[in-house]
């Protein structure tokens, strides 16, 4: 067990949401912490309000029907107790952000985890892109592993894979697994879809696999828009270099939460998904995980 005297319990993270029950973010029931802020800008993004930090433009304040938003000292302030969760502020936000974030210290999260520990297999940090708040993640996971009542909880990271090799080296001693998105095969396609290339993502996948910390690779299938189907042979050749126990999970592009151009794209139907998965399974020689719901 880790020594707790080197941990900064006051380190804070900017968090947009915490779920205390999730069975789709790693093994078992997980407490999921969604961190605000992302360095990708995907056309297909399902929660674009988590991309940017609030710039306090206050455009949203007047839209709030319950007075939960106010301006104090030129900052937008959100009062959770008054909030009805209607999300009008998110709809109106011009900056792909939300006024509804909270700052949590490592200490506060440990209290929450202690309260829920009997129900949990572990915790997962998600986003946004959680690794943008790397220093916070390191302190949080160190603190969990150093706490006798919590050290049984596994620590997982859900990431877009953009973190540098040095960054992952800082996290690796304290994490048990990762879920990484691979959204497109060709660098150019990836660049068009998310605003950045995918070389770093693949290096991340390789590094995590080499350290036996890669739990799941997620493929987002957007029929007719990305190249996972047209490049399926190369994609599977690559996936076959990964350890066999790594889960390949397929996500179907849907319209929930999507804004802008993405809404003009066709959703991925169950039939299209089954066709794609069949081709993958034939080339990988093992099962892949499919979405359970299409809307």
């Amino acid at each position: 067990m880790l020594q707790s005297d080197t941990i900064n319990f006051d380190k804070k993270g900017i968090i947009s949401k915490i779920l205390t029950f999730s069975c789709v973010d790693g093994p078992g029931n997980r407490l999921v912490i969604f961190l605000q802020g992302c360095n990708f800008d995907c056309i297909s993004c399902h929660n674009p309000h988590t991309i940017n930090h609030c710039d306090h433009c206050a455009d949203c304040v007047a839209s709030c029907p319950t007075g939960a938003l106010t301006v104090e000292n030129n900052k937008v302030k959100w009062r959770q107790a008054l909030c009805s969760g209607c999300d009008k502020c998110i709809d109106i936000c011009p900056s792909k952000s939300t006024p509804k974030t909270s700052s949590y210290s490592v200490r506060q999260l440990l209290e929450l985890l202690t309260q829920h520990r009997h129900f949990l297999n572990g915790i997962t940090v998600s986003g946004g892109e959680s690794t943008l708040q790397l220093a916070f993640l390191v302190e949080l996971f160190k603190a969990v592993k150093a706490n006798a009542a919590l050290s049984h909880l596994s620590c997982y990271v859900d990431s877009n894979g953009s973190l540098s090799e040095q960054g992952w080296n800082k996290l690796l001693p304290y994490i048990d697994g990762t879920m990484i998105d691979l959204k497109a095969w060709q660098n150019a396609t990836h660049l068009w879809l998310v605003g950045r290339g995918n070389h770093r993502v693949m290096q991340t996948i390789n590094q995590l696999a080499a350290h036996n910390k890669l739990y799941e690779v997620r493929l987002l299938y957007i029929p007719g828009k990305t190249d996972l189907l047209s490049e399926i042979d190369a994609l599977c050749e690559y996936l076959n270099t990964l350890p066999q126990q790594v889960i390949i999970r397929l996500n179907a592009f849907q319209h929930h939460g999507v804004i802008g151009e993405g809404l003009t794209w066709d959703k991925c139907s169950e039939q299209q998904m089954l066709m794609f998965s069949k081709k993958l399974v034939a080339r990988l020689g093992r099962e892949v995980l499919l979405p359970s719901v299409y809307t």
């Binding site: 309000h49 209607c86 809307t295």
Partner: protein, 508 residues
């Protein structure tokens, strides 16, 4: 009762001959005058404030009977002209026979025994495969000959071959009957056995998981069983009657919170006890039920029967009382509302523990959070959080766990888990373990197809789900259609497998 009603039962298209006989018998009993109860009691029944669960006008059998099946196998029966069992086949044969002589409110036995404990002495040198084959045939026989979803088998908390085999067979056959409760004891049950049970829940929404030490202690370690839906009762005894109180209607009668707690609730509890005593006195004194061989051969004992004091509509009662105090807090979601609920449960528990009944367990009734019948409208079963407004399952457990200590004879909280759990049954294990560790008496989860499923890794906004409702509803029909097609076997079988307890009277 009119002849036309009898005629419509007799000529009903959907009922089997046996089901018709059952409903005709109910009509016959209902043609007798009701037992001699106080005027106030009759008024409370007529107003829908208290309810006798359609048990009949003149009870001639207890609501639930839990015979000591182990004793039966060991001694055989003089009345049934049966010798004691010597091997596994004889044990199963004896059980099959006795089940047809165990009455209940539905005429079908609600309790089939702690089958692993009961059968383990007879396994001899049978191989795993032989045990599997025999249990499987026994399971099919139960479902086809005693088709009631409330008929209940108990297993656990120890790890043994019968327990493991029953779990395997139950997951394989996915039958409606029998219902199944797995006893869990942190000190005795290995994690991998609990894992097998929770995996089963993901496959067939069974078993229920009972907190063994809590129940065992409540019955002085003298034996208990879980029967029907979440009723915990003394083994070798049972429940002579179940009367239930609609807390929602009681709350409506109260001026304010203090009036409810100090005056109105205690008064209706007093009326409940009048009905309980009148009904159980008839059963024990007039019906001659306790002259039966079950009693004379020692499989049951009269003093191990107790009335169940049922309550339901806690959620509505709390919300009504909060409104009377001009407080917007809602049951299941706000601490202050939840705490009022816990206070009411504690008060009920104190009233039941200090009120003598004519025929009870140590002279007392047993408090029960009742799970509802099909006729209930706009009122939530037991102390559950209303359907459609439940928080996530962990929050659900944390909001309701404080009730569980008070409901000795069972509490029917059902957690609805979305179907993504099927791909991650470890989450069900975590949830069950957390709930039991927190003090849940009984963990019951329903794996539902839920269009509010969160998609992997994405945070779906509730507002977006609302926005896409219109489009969603069209495709969801297809989705539900596919789900229904998958379950066709179950749908087809519904008329055969009755649930008389939730549909206690004939409806044309």
């Amino acid at each position: 009762m009119t002849q036309a009603r009898l005629y419509s039962i007799i000529t009903d298209k959907n009922l089997s001959a046996k089901q018709k006989s059952q409903y005709l018998a109910l009509e016959a009993e209902a043609s007798l005058p009701y037992l001699d109860i106080e005027t106030k009691t009759q008024q409370a029944i007529d107003a829908g404030i208290i309810c006798d669960m359609f048990e009949g006008h003149a009870p001639f059998k207890p609501r639930y009977v839990l015979p000591d099946y182990g004793k039966f196998l060991a001694q055989g029966s003089e009345y049934l002209e049966l010798d004691a069992a010597n091997n596994f086949d004889e044990a199963l044969n004896l059980l099959t026979i006795l089940y047809h002589h165990v009455p209940s409110v539905t005429s079908i036995p609600v309790y089939l025994g702690q089958l692993d404990t009961v059968l383990m002495p007879y396994i001899g040198d049978l191989s795993e495969q032989q045990i599997y084959q025999k249990i499987k045939l026994f399971w099919i026989m139960l479902d086809r000959t005693l088709p009631d979803a409330f008929m209940h088998v108990n297993i656990g908390p120890t790890d043994n071959i019968i327990c493991r085999t029953i779990l395997a067979v139950d997951a394989e056959l996915k039958q409606i009957a029998p219902n199944l409760t797995f006893m869990y004891d942190e000190k005795v049950t290995p994690d991998d056995l609990l894992r097998q049970a929770t995996n089963n829940i993901c496959v067939c929404s069974k078993p229920h998981i009972a907190n063994y030490p809590l129940h065992a202690k409540a019955y002085d370690n003298s034996g208990f069983g879980i029967v029907s839906c979440y009723n915990s009762l003394p083994l070798g005894g049972g429940s002579n009657t179940l009367v239930r109180l609609n807390l929602k209607e009681v709350a409506k009668k109260a001026q304010h919170k203090a009036d409810f707690i100090d005056t109105v609730l205690p008064e209706y509890c007093r009326i409940m006890f009048d009905l309980i005593d009148v009904r159980s006195a008839f059963l024990h004194e007039k019906s001659n039920f306790f002259n039966s061989f079950l009693n004379t051969e020692g499989l049951i004992a009269e003093n191990r029967f107790a009335p169940m004091f049922g309550i339901y509509g806690m959620a509505e009662a709390v919300n009504i009382l909060m409104e009377k105090e001009d407080n917007k807090a809602r049951y299941g979601h706000d601490d202050i509302a939840n705490q009022l609920g816990h206070t009411i449960s504690k008060l009920l528990s104190e009233i039941v523990a200090t009120t003598d009944v004519k025929y009870g367990y140590h002279g007392k009734a047993l408090l029960h959070a009742q799970g509802g019948i099909s006729l209930d409208k706009d009122v939530t079963p037991g102390v559950r959080i209303p359907y459609g407004s439940e928080p996530d399952p962990v929050a659900y457990v944390q909001a309701t766990v404080a009730h569980h200590q008070y409901y000795t004879s069972g509490i029917s909280d059902i957690l609805t888990i979305d179907e993504t759990v099927k791909a991650n049954p470890l989450a069900m294990f975590n949830l069950a373990k957390g709930a039991l560790k927190s003090g849940y008496r009984e963990f019951t989860a329903n794996v539902a197809s839920n269009d509010l499923v969160r998609v992997t890794g994405y945070m779906v906004k509730l507002s977006d789900i609302a926005k896409f409702d219109a489009q969603g509803s069209r495709t969801n029909t297809t989705f539900l259609g596919a789900e229904a097609a998958k379950n066709t076997a179950i749908l087809k079988r519904k008329p055969r497998v009755a649930a008389l307890e939730t549909s206690p009277s004939y409806v044309e």
